[in-house]
Symmetry: C2
Subunit: 73 residues, 2 copies
């Protein structure tokens, strides 16, 4: 998997959803990164639709947000 | 991403769900692979919880099954 994947509507949708969930909690990207145990730059890339996020990282995000993975979609 | 990721409960759950959806349709792994435009060996790896599936491939599977991505979880 390339470090930074090209844009796709699917990734854009996921990125917008992650940004929305983070904004609801008034968390910075750094806060989400710490809670999800992923790099801040990776959070930024997800929100910009640049990352082809894996199931493991989807679960890390869901755990950080205290939601189910299906609520990310 | 390693070609074959170590087992995780999350991947096991996704693999079981993919197998279930495929069985409901009475599709072979080859049929699902063709419909999702992914390799048959990759489908097998997903069902065995060995693959850390990316968002792009989750969408390929959802399109093949004619469901939403959140229905994979």
């Amino acid at each position: 998997m390339p470090k930074s994947a090209p844009p796709s509507p699917w990734r854009d949708d996921l990125g917008a959803r992650v940004r929305e969930l983070r904004a609801e909690r008034q968390w910075s990207q750094e806060t989400l990164a710490e809670r999800a145990d992923i790099h801040t730059a990776y959070v930024s890339g997800i929100e910009r639709g640049r990352r082809n996020v894996s199931v493991d990282n989807l679960h890390r995000l869901a755990v950080a947000f205290d939601i189910q993975v299906h609520d990310l979609f």
